[in-house]
Amino acid sequence: MTREYTFPFTAVVGQEKIKRALLLNAVNPRIGGVLISGQKGTAKSTLVRGLAKLLPDMEVVELPLNVTEDRLLGTIDVEKAIASGIKSFEPGLLAEADGNILYVDEVNLLSEHIVNSLLDVAQSGVNIVEREGISHEHRSSFVLVGSMNPEEGMLSPQFLDRFGLFVEVTGEADLDDRKEIIARRLAYERSPDEFIKTYKEQDAEIAAKILGARKFFSQVEITDNIMKMAADLARQAFCQGHRADIVLVETARTMAAFAERTYISLDDLKEAAELALPHRIRQVPPYEIQEQETQETEEKTPPQQMQQPPENEESRERPDLEQTPQDSEQDLPAQQHEGRDHRGQDETAANESLQQPESSEELVEDPGKIFRVITIQTKPFERKMRKGSGKRSRTKTSSRQGRYIRYRLPQGKLKDLAFDATLRAAAMAGRGRNKDGFVRIEKSDYREKVREKRIGNTLLFVVDASGSMGANRRMKATKTAILSLLNDAYQKRDIAGLVVFRKTGAESLLGITRSVELANKKLRELPTGGKTPLPAGLALGYEILKARKVKDPDTVPVLVLVTDGRANVSLNGGDPVEEAKEIGRKIRAEGINTLVIDSEQDFITLGLAKELAEIMEAQYYKLEALQVQEIETAVRSFLQ
């Protein structure tokens, strides 16, 4: 079914960067597509669909999120095979996309299996099908356009790199623009026919410009100097591989063609860099290096690519938790920062004034700014099929709830018949029909569905909130780290709970809930003070997760222990440290994944956190190392 009406491309107010990126790709598909990242409701899809209407010779083929492999790649033509015994290829979306635009909305939610097939073809421009008894090859060269909301998680670096250009969008902030947007939308909905007619001429003009630029393209010269500058830019942005250089040149050349200029100007290259580099800046240079280089690149590099200057206030407070540029890519516009920071200050001020008159024993520390955490994988050790929905641990699921992505020969008793694949197998066998006219299907034709689903983990945070954590703003950093982990948990569809231990015992602040937000709220309000009953905290965490495993055998339980390694309140009257180790052994025996986050920062460390981690076979991180940048910096210094 074709859409009857499409909102015209030229009727979209503002969003010049997306428009530009799309038009450039329409002129020169070799740029390699564009990834549009940004807030919801900012005309991302509208523009892509509008572009299709405007182009005389290109279509937009949409790839739905729930596509199955057979429809993506193409497969045997069942009807023909059954009717006439001829085995022929029935093309899929990749065939349809050849010479066109392939559009994936919410591309960050696409099943990884589909992503892999897609990347394969996007890279080679050829779709090779060797499956279900057919062997077929066809050209599939398309402009890949994706849109996504970064709040829902990012793409893998390989996938990011496949997109030639990257545009970040926000809503228009100008009052008149916003007004105009509303007015046009209303007019369109009132009478789409008339509205579309109004913009026909403008759309046609753009289309003519695209065709003109395509013709002119070959006349634009690429000098050695331009190539050298592109390579320089890419190098300074720490891009991996050579795709960035090539995309830069292709984009700049297309810009020149658009302006009907025979040479590429410095401005072309600058603008191209703004579009081609942001998603490719891979590593953050260490601070010293970065400072020198900033000066060098200042004139050449557009401001977007440079690291944001550290925000004074934040960095004074916690020099150890700097923001990474990856972070800022996902971040909110400036005014939002301000708003939030103000609120943060007010709260802190209020808290301080509240706390001070009383004994200074309890303190509520406000968390800092959320950062992007490193990838923490839980062990994919289970043999058992699991069900559930989440994004951290990928698993094949035996329940019929997952997304059917492909099929296989049945293993064991057939439960989940992949009828389409079974029918194709029967058609391939060429048995025709039986006397009643039914297609003959035999046992050997049976295929079953492989469903894929990512399951979330049950994250239980066991947090030390004793007085020692309150020292040196340790709790602030700790809260920031936990909040960042929670943010990550949200994107990965985990569920979470919170246990704190301080003074004389442990307390479950929040039962296991899907509402990661509640966990966040509780955490913000958490005061610190008193002694450190570590064994009690571990014991409670153990009980909760053990019970959880019984109740919901399909989740991966993860205990996240945040501690500075002190233990000075006993659970059963024994040595607190020994008690903690004993419970640690139990936790390991129960098969609970553990993550120990060590917040100890004294020069001479007690090392108990590390010891506990070893006992529990936990992944061990220093608090500061949770941040993406730290790891990458470590790798970089290792390489040098």
Binding site: G41, R71, G92, E172, L175, R178, L186, Q335
Partner: protein
């Protein structure tokens, strides 16, 4: 189980004015994008939805069309109906009531979007699309109880279809698309986890419901329920007039919807509110204005007033307040009132 005749009358529902309003507005103008009802159990959510569908007169539908196409509107037809019209065929039609299609939390994706018709394939050796829940939902109300517990990938396809009005299927050997214009009504209990902001934004309106607080109202709720259960027919009769009046009002509002004017001032006000509240994107402003227009139409006005805008903001903004995934969602309503008062002059 109550039979079709015995549906509890919409007008007999005590209180819950916001929810009732949100539902009525969506019926008048399905382009509003559905309603999300957040609140405790036992607050007449499901009753209200079913009652509303029952209240409306029958619609003209192409007989035997799995999507129930409107024979008079070619732009919203499925491919098959459209083809028939273009071939000069007359489409036979029937009259049917709007239905409430339930989407259970356990629904699998193939049942939601539709799949390969196995029987047809076996018998004929041909591929045919077997319509799913989204097909049934076309021109009806799609009711999702506990939408926040639905599997993410099902929510994705659901909202995609809701936004586009089209369901596109590229799976299990079939490639098919069909109209899927429906009024999406979701309910959820926020304590069991929220919807992702991305999904929240796709719901046009949102209301929070609570059990009626006043003793008097609570007594009235019980009283009516007992009377209804005692003799549903007599109960229905006692509300017949009120029901018919409401139905008339809804139909009239539908007819007048496109005639309602909204002045430049009102557009500006909507944009100002959105800027002031720092909502993401533009869906908020557009929904506020569309809702205000629909309210004006329901009131029988010819032009949108600032009071309409205020009421619309209450319905269209609570779930759109800008926040990072973990920050509290608060609607600073006094702020909106201030803007409207300053800019829009007197509130009627």
């Amino acid at each position: 189980m109550s039979s079709k005749k015995n549906i509890y009358p919409f007008c007999a529902i005590v209180g819950q004015e916001q929810m009732k309003k949100a539902l009525i507005l969506n019926v008048i103008n399905p382009a509003l994008g559905g309603a999300l009802i957040r609140g405790e159990k036992g607050t007449a959510k499901s009753t209200a939805v079913r009652a509303l569908a029952d209240l409306l007169p029958e619609m003209k539908m192409v007989a035997d069309c799995p999507f129930g196409c409107d024979p008079d509107d070619i732009s919203s037809m499925c491919a098959s109906c459209r083809q028939k019209i273009k071939a000069g065929e007359k489409l036979p039609y029937v009259f049917k009531k709007m239905r409430v299609i339930d989407l259970p939390v356990s629904a699998t994706e193939d049942r939601v979007v539709g799949t390969l018709d196995i029987e047809h394939a076996l018998k004929k050796g041909e591929k045919k699309f077997e319509p799913g829940i989204l097909a049934k939902a076309n021109r009806n109300i799609l009711y999702v109880d506990e939408v926040n517990l639905l599997d993410d990938h099902v929510v994705d396809v659901l909202l995609d279809a809701a936004a586009m009005g089209i369901n596109t299927v590229e799976r299990e050997g079939v490639s098919y698309s069909h109209p899927a214009r429906f009024i999406l009504v979701g309910t959820m209990n926020p304590e069991e986890g929220d919807l992702r902001p991305q999904l929240l934004d796709r719901f046009g309106l949102a209301v929070d419901v609570r059990g009626e607080m006043g003793t008097e109202n609570r007594v009235e709720v019980i009283k009516r329920r007992l009377t209804y259960e005692n003799d549903p027919d007599a109960f229905a009769v006692s509300f017949r007039e009120e029901q018919q009046e409401l139905a008339r009002r809804i139909l009239k509002a539908r007819d007048n919807l496109h005639q309602v004017k909204s002045s430049d001032k009102m557009l500006e006000l909507a944009a100002k509110i959105a800027i002031e509240l720092e909502v993401d994107g533009h869906r908020a402003d557009i929904t506020v204005i569309k809702t205000a227009i629909t309210i004006a139409a329901f009131n029988g006005q010819e032009e949108v007033k600032s009071a309409n805008l205020l009421e619309a903001a209450k319905l269209a903004l609570p779930h759109r307040m800008r926040r990072k995934p973990f920050e509290d969602e608060t609607l600073e309503f006094t702020k909106i009132e201030e803007i409207v008062r300053e800019e829009g002059g007197m509130i009627a």
